[in-house]
C-alpha cells in the first residue's frame, strides 16, 4: 500500500497505528506524512530544516515547522506524540544520543532509521582502498557529507543498551529490499528500529 515510499519509510508507515499522533523529524517533502494522513488517518506534524521542503509540505496541506531538530525539538511538550520519527537523520545530529532522548521525551515510541556504516562495502572501501566510502546510498564525499556521526547497527544497539531503551522491532535493508536480521551489521545498508523507554 505504500509502494511509492522509500523502503524504510514504507515500513514505518505500515507500523504506525491508525489515528495516532506523529511527529516526523526531518520530514523532507512530507511524503511519509501525506501517506500517514491519507491512508492511516494520522495527525502528523513535521519538522524540517530546508525552507524549500517546508514550502512543498505546506502546499500539500501538511503542518510542518521549519527548524533545526538539534535546537527546536526542545520546544515540544513532553509526550505530545504517540510516535516520533527520525529517518536517515540520526547520523547528522550534533549529539545523536541527546536527540534520542528528545525523541522519547516528545513521543511515547520512536522509529529511527539510519545508514549502517559497517555494511561490507563500507568496510571494503576502507580496508582495501583506504578510502572513506562513497556508495549509492551515501553518494557524498567525506568533506561535504552531513553525516558527521558514523553509526553501525551494533553501535546503535549498544547505545540503546546503555540508555536502557528497549527495541520493539527492527528491520534491515540492502539494495532497497528487506533482509533478515542475521549478520545485519555486515549485510544491511540501512536499518529501522522501533524503540521505547
Amino acid at each position: 500500500m505504500t509502494t511509492s515510499l522509500r523502503p524504510d519509510l514504507a515500513v514505518i508507515a505500515e507500523h504506525i497505528e491508525p489515528g495516532s499522533r506523529v511527529l516526523d523529524i526531518g520530514c523532507g517533502d512530507g511524503a511519509l506524512m501525506a501517506v500517514l494522513r491519507d491512508r492511516r488517518q494520522v495527525d502528523a506534524r513535521g519538522l524540517e530544516i530546508d525552507p524549500a521542503e517546508v514550502e512543498r509540505c505546506v502546499a500539500r496541506g501538511l503542518s510542518v515547522v521549519q527548524g533545526d531538530a538539534d535546537r527546536d525539538l526542545l520546544a515540544y511538550p513532553d509526550g505530545a506524540f504517540d510516535f516520533a520519527i527520525l529517518s536517515q537523520t540520526l547520523q547528522t545530529a550534533e549529539r545523536p544520543d541527546l536527540m534520542l532522548d528528545q525523541l522519547l521525551r516528545v513521543g511515547r515510541r520512536a522509529f529511527v532509521s539510519f545508514p549502517n556504516f559497517a555494511h561490507w562495502r563500507m568496510r571494503a572501501a576502507l580496508l582495501l582502498r583506504g578510502r572513506m566510502p562513497v556508495t549509492r546510498h551515501l553518494p557524498v564525499s567525506w568533506y561535504e557529507t552531513q553525516n558527521i556521526h558514523h553509526v553501525t547497527v551494533t553501535d546503535f544497539r549498544e547505545l540503546l543498551r546503555e540508555k536502557g531503551l528497549s527495541v520493539d522491532r527492527s528491520w534491515f535493508f540492502a539494495g532497497d529490499h528487506e533482509i533478515g536480521p542475521t549478520g545485519a551489521n555486515w549485510r544491511a545498508e540501512y536499518a529501522v528500529f522501533e524503540v521505547r523507554r
Partner: protein, 370 residues
Amino acid sequence: MAPQTAPNQVTLPASLLLDSGETLAGVTIAYESYGSLSAAKDNAILVCHALTGDQYLASTHPLTGKPGWWERMVGPDKPIDTDRFFVICANVIGSCMGTTGPASPTADGQPYAMRFPVITIRDMVRGLVGLLDGLGIAQLHAVVGGSMGGMQALSLAANFPDRAARVLAIATTARHSAQNIAFHEVGRQAIMADPAWADGDYYAQAQRPIAGLAVARMAAHITYLSEAGLTEKFGRRLQDKADGSAGAKSFGFDADFQVESYLRYQGSGFTRRFDANSYLYITRAMDYFDLAEEHGGQLAKAFAGTAARFCLVSFDSDWLYPTAESRHVVHALNAAGAAVSFVELSAPFGHDSFLLDVPALDRVVKGFLE
C-alpha cells in the same frame, strides 16, 4: 480590479465594549470585497491590513489612485484567488478611511479627536467580527494578515477561535518589543510636537500637523526596510538637481542624498492619505498588544483547544518583527497542540517583504489556503 460598489459600510447594531472599559457606540466599518460569497457562506477570507493600510486591498485607492496594496497577492488566479474565495478587507476602527476613528463626528457633530477612546488590537478584531456578523459569515475559510494584520489574525484566533478555520500570520509578532514601542514613540512625539497638532483639535484648522506626521512616517519607513535593501537601492548616491543636472553636495541641508529625497517623498505622500490622530491611536494599539498578557501570561493558553490550522511566515531580513518572534508564536502553538506550519523565507526587502515580490510567499499562501 474595480470595487464592487462604493462605499461598502456596515454600522454595528450594538456598542463595542472596549478593553479600556469604555464603549464605542454607532461604529461604522468600511470594507471592500472581491469575488462572490458562496450560498453556504463558507468561502470567505478576511484579510487584515497593517498600520497605515486600508480596505483597498485589490482595487484602486480613491485618494492616491494607486493599485490596491496587495494586488499582487489577491485577484483572479492569484494566490488568494477571488474566483474561488470571497475576500473581505475592512478598515480597522481608529483608522481614517471610512471606519469610525478620531476624525469621525461624535453625537455633538464635532470630530472625536482626542476624545476617541484608546483602542487595542482586540478591539479592532471585535469590530471585524461585528462586520462578519453583519455579513452572516459564521466561520471564515481563513483570516490572513501581515504585520499589524498578522496581530489581528492571531488575536481573532485567540479570542474568537470558532470564527476562522485557517490563520495565516505573516511577518508579525504576538507582542510589541521595547524597540517596537520606542520607534512608535518617536513617531507620536513628532506628531505631538508639531504646533499644528493643537492637542488633536486640528480638524477645523487650515493647517494640519503634516510636518509631524511626515517625520513619523519617515522614521517608521526606515524600520520597514533592510540595511542591505537601502544600500542597494540608494547607497550614497546623490539626488539629481531639479533642472536635471547631476547631484552634488549642497553644503546645506537640502535632500542631497537620494535616500533623503526618498524618505521626504514617502513622508509627504503619506500625509495626503492619513490622519495624524489615527496614527497616534493605531500605534498605541500595537504597543499595547501582548497576546500572552491577555491570557494569564502564557501564550500557549491563548490558543488552548483551537481547532484552526495555523501558518506563520517570517523573513530573514525583517528586523522589525524578526523570525524569533514568529518562532515564539510557533512554540506556543506547538505547546497548545495546534496544527501549525512555519517557514522563514529569504527576501532582501526587510519587513516590507510581505508586500513585495517574493515568489516563495505566493506559493506558501496559495498552498496553505487550499
